[in-house]
């Protein structure tokens, strides 16, 4: 893997990189290779404390436009710790009809607006930092806010000569598969529940080599949301509001292990209700360009209501085996602000501070999502098609999802370096 990654990088470096057209179809692509090293905590990639190169992304897109129609598709191949393994996925692919600036219809897999930056979280060229704020767009919960499969209505409305109003409403579903979060959840529930329920098995986890990983998929019932962004153009000052409503089912099955011989899938089902998720997000965002400065801030409230079968409730059983919470729900508040400056034509620096905290906790939620983050970084553009980045993080008061699976260190650091080649 490592050898092939370096080969690809060397090859792209040598190529005369230029976006090109084939029969009026625009072709663009990118390749990123990252190095990640953590101190005091293993994060995302097994062995990250020793330094890891197991983080590579490759995109290739094609786009054609005729009259008022846009058709485009982008493939994303990713290797990131336990995620991806260079599996080629459809990142986005849609048909868009532009009636005019104020009204366009999009159908297909479309990048999902979630704050002002989530749509291009994989577009390394578009920003100074490598990871977006982990208080806001955590990499271990990535799958939920990448794209939607459905219908979108969007438009840009000019308000006089100095103001612009952009909107995007959408309805559909999405695909969340092989996510860090799913791997964590299945493993966590299994490990806890086997002790309590005396032998229940939850397929889909990497902890079970005999069962298919394909079952570690969230079954999204509905995904809908919208975004409104107002821009004062002379200052390039934006104010945005977002909402997102997710309803889904995590189809975990609990099997009786007592009479299970260890071959194939056990036949006796103890609990098939799994986990029902109903999550709502509200996000406020703003950013501003002031000469060479770029300032931005976002805040988010997440309301999480979920219900689950009895066996999952045993996961949270109190003393004597009495289930303490028959209905679950939690609330999360996150925010961050960031200051970025372009110090030379080809060099930009930034600093960022953010925090996420539970405002309403349950026994389950208390163990996840809490984080304080301080991050600084630099971006250097070697030329128009090659750039390098360095980003350092310090985390404290950390109670993230993967934390339980690895260690309980609440304060730790991370260094990320990345080279990206694009055309």
């Amino acid at each position: 893997m490592l050898r092939s990654t370096f080969f690809c990088l060397q090859l792209l470096w040598l190529l005369p990189l230029q976006a090109f057209q084939v029969d009026e179809v625009d072709i663009h692509g990118s390749l990123s290779q990252s190095y990640l090293k953590t101190h005091g905590h293993e994060f995302l990639i097994p062995g990250s404390q020793d330094g890891a190169l197991d983080y590579t992304e490759l995109t290739l897109n094609a786009h054609k436009q005729f009259d008022r129609w846009n058709i485009g598709v982008q493939g994303l191949s990713r290797d990131f710790g336990r995620e991806g393994d260079f599996e080629l996925r459809l990142d986005w692919g849609h048909v868009e009809y532009n009636a005019l600036d104020a009204l366009s219809l999009r159908f297909g897999r479309v990048k999902l607006p979630f704050g002002l930056y989530a749509e291009y979280r994989d577009v390394d060229m578009a920003r100074t930092e490598i990871f977006l704020p982990q208080t806001f767009l955590p990499e271990d919960y990535r799958g939920g806010a990448v794209a939607y499969d459905g219908l979108g209505v969007a438009g840009d409305i000019a308000l006089g000569e100095t103001q612009l109003l952009q909107y995007h409403l959408f309805w559909g579903t999405n695909s969340i598969k092989d996510d860090f979060f799913l791997n964590f959840l299945t493993q966590d529930i299994y490990e806890s529940s086997t002790a309590i329920a005396a032998g229940a098995l939850f397929p889909g986890s990497s902890a079970f080599p005999g069962l298919s990983q394909d079952q570690a998929v969230l079954d999204t019932k509905s995904l809908r949301g919208g975004q409104v962004v107002w821009t004062y153009e002379p200052w390039l000052w934006r104010l945005g509001y977002n909402f997102l409503h997710y309803i889904g089912h995590f189809p975990l099955m609990a099997y009786d292990l007592k009479n299970f011989g260890g071959v194939g899938t056990p036949s006796v089902v103890l609990d098939e209700r799994g986990l029902e998720l109903d999550i709502m997000w509200h996000i406020l965002s703003t950013d501003l360009v002031l000469g060479e400065w770029f300032l931005r801030a976002e805040t988010m409230l997440r309301y999480n209501d979920y219900t689950q079968g009895d066996l999952f409730m045993d996961r949270f059983a109190g003393p004597g085996g009495v289930t303490s919470n028959l209905a679950n729900g939690d609330e999360l508040w996150s925010w961050y602000f960031s200051a970025q400056r372009q110090i030379f034509d080809n060099t930009g620096i930034y600093a960022r501070f953010g925090k996420s905290m539970m405002t309403k906790e349950t026994p389950r939620a208390a163990s996840t999502n809490q984080l304080s983050e301080l991050s600084v970084g630099v971006r250097y553009d070697f030329n128009q098609h090659v750039l390098g980045k360095l980003q350092a993080f310090h985390y404290w008061d950390y109670r993230g999802a993967l934390d339980q699976a690895t260690n309980q260190d609440k304060s730790w650091g991370m260094l990320l370096a990345r080279v990206t080649v694009h055309f």
Partner: protein
């Protein structure tokens, strides 16, 4: 007559503010001139239609683009490139066509339906391409 003369002189002064760069359009570009605000909206990707027609942007790599960003759009070239990278890699709309030489670009512009571009003011314009004066202010 007097008013026409004042308007003409104002226009000449405005064009001069932008130095050695002129904005040019294809033969069917739907207006005789553009306000600076409209030009910024088009080149920053805020809008892609002008007077009901979809505009195709053209640009040349290098220092001319850098000067254009600074003088006409009041953003750095890095800011400009990042804006368009977002659109390219999220599948949003029509991005500017980029050329290595002004002759290649002008040839394409002359053939385009509603094309808009910028060139060095000393470059000779081919048939089918005309200067689009930019009116300072809103």
């Amino acid at each position: 007559m007097k008013l026409h003369l004042i308007a003409f002189l104002s226009l000449v002064m405005v064009i001069d503010l932008y130095g050695d760069i002129v904005v040019v359009g294809g033969k069917n570009f739907p207006t005789e001139n553009l306000t600076e605000a409209s030009l910024k909206r088009l080149f920053l990707g805020h809008l892609s239609f002008y007077e009901g027609e979809r505009v195709q942007l053209h640009q040349i790599e290098g220092d001319l683009l850098k000067d254009f960003c600074k003088k006409f759009l009041q953003v750095s070239m890095s800011n400009y490139e990042r804006r368009w990278a977002r659109r390219i890699f999220t599948g949003k709309g029509r991005v500017p066509r980029t050329y290595k030489t002004s002759s290649d670009m002008l040839k394409s512009l002359a053939e385009s339906e509603h094309g808009l571009a910028f060139v060095d003011s000393n470059v000779e314009l081919p048939a089918g391409v005309r200067v689009i004066p930019i009116i300072k202010g809103d």
